[in-house]
Symmetry: C2
Subunit: 232 residues, 2 copies
């Protein structure tokens, strides 16, 4: 029998890149499962069964994203729970500091979080190896239920204009907390941060590139808040 | 152009059968969404992320069942929420009377409930028109996560034998409450009850047939409890 050719050289053979990708997948997987969990907890505040079903559909989409990311970690020979573990305190802190006080705040949080995740996935995708990129692009599609959130928020504002000010403040707080937790991740996770801005082969972490990424994500957040009828 | 043949005579043209099927689909749909909701609420008691993910996977399967049942109601030209509405108090009463006091009780409840639902679906399927049967058979597959529950319950009992007695009592209480709510449905819903035992064309409700169905389901429950290592 002829000897098999060795596998083609892969970006994943680079240990720094591999570490960064496993951290990234762990971060994204934990983000999806913890978003799913919080969303479902907030659904208890839903005014009726119809709204509960909408929220459950969003949560089910997030769970499906989680499954895809987890399966990619398993494919890479990693324990998905070990990969997620380092990020538990990050998401726990984020959710503890952003507990919605009513159903509308929960919806805005889901909408904003879903949007931030999609933006982040889009930013990161460019620098990933083909297979990892495919997973990330598939899970970046969002939960596809934003129309429901936009309708709910806009009609609540129509019924009572004071709600707009409260929800705008809430949106700013969500974004502030998200950025603050993201900075913590950047500070603690060199390999991950390098993958995120495509600098794994460079001489050090490109903080300016990370700063520009955060700026682009913040701009997209501002547009999303306007779609909801809120000033960012 | 030749005139089209009229659609073939369908069981759904019979108003009594149609009423029963819509009630049945409403009952099953509400059962799935309320099981999904309770399961997710109980997941807060999960000891670790791995267990939470298992429970989330069960909840996602139930949500998918719900979606299939809801879509069938929409296909039939019905408002799914109107079809579910009459059963809200039934499931609310069941869940209020069977609140798990810890994660294990939650798992046993999910396992028992999932099993009862599958048994009931199987009983009913025989008497349904082809298309409705197909949906019911698809959703009757269970959540496919019983191995996790069996492992958790059996190892908890191994670690502390006293748990077996408490969980056996809990299983009896779950079954008792389920039967009690089922009797209420039978008493209040003639068209549904007729469909369930295939007697829609008979001269009255066949209570003996319903009794035999409950007996078969109770026997299957006993076997399931034994699989968990519990006496029924």
């Amino acid at each position: 029998m002829a000897r098999q050719d060795p596998p083609p050289p892969s970006a994943l053979d680079d240990p720094a890149y591999r570490t960064g990708v496993v951290e990234l997948l762990g971060l994204l997987a934990l983000g999806e499962i913890s978003a799913c969990e919080r969303l479902v907890a907030d659904a208890r505040m839903a005014p009726d069964l119809r709204a509960k079903v909408e929220v459950a559909a969003m949560a089910a989409a997030e769970f499906h994203h989680f499954e895809q990311l987890r399966d990619r970690l398993v494919e890479l020979g990693e324990d998905p729970f070990a990969a997620m573990d380092p990020f538990e305190s990050i998401f726990a802190a984020f959710h503890a500091k952003t507990r919605p006080s009513d159903f509308l705040e929960g919806l805005v949080k889901a909408y904003v979080g879903d949007g931030l995740a999609s933006d982040f996935y889009r930013e990161v995708a460019a620098y990933l190896d083909g297979e990892t990129r495919e997973i990330v692009v598939e899970t970046m599609s969002g939960t596809g239920h934003s129309d429901f959130v936009v309708d709910q928020v806009r009609s609540a504002i129509e019924a009572d204009h004071r709600i707009a000010g409260r929800l705008a403040l809430w949106g700013r707080r969500l974004m502030g907390e998200a950025l603050s937790q993201a900075q913590t991740v950047v500070a603690e996770r060199d390999a991950l941060s390098a993958v995120v801005v495509g600098g794994a082969d460079g001489p050090g972490l490109d903080l300016a590139a990370i700063g520009r990424m955060f700026t682009r994500i913040t701009e997209a957040h501002t547009e999303r808040m306007e779609t909801l009828g809120l000033s960012a």
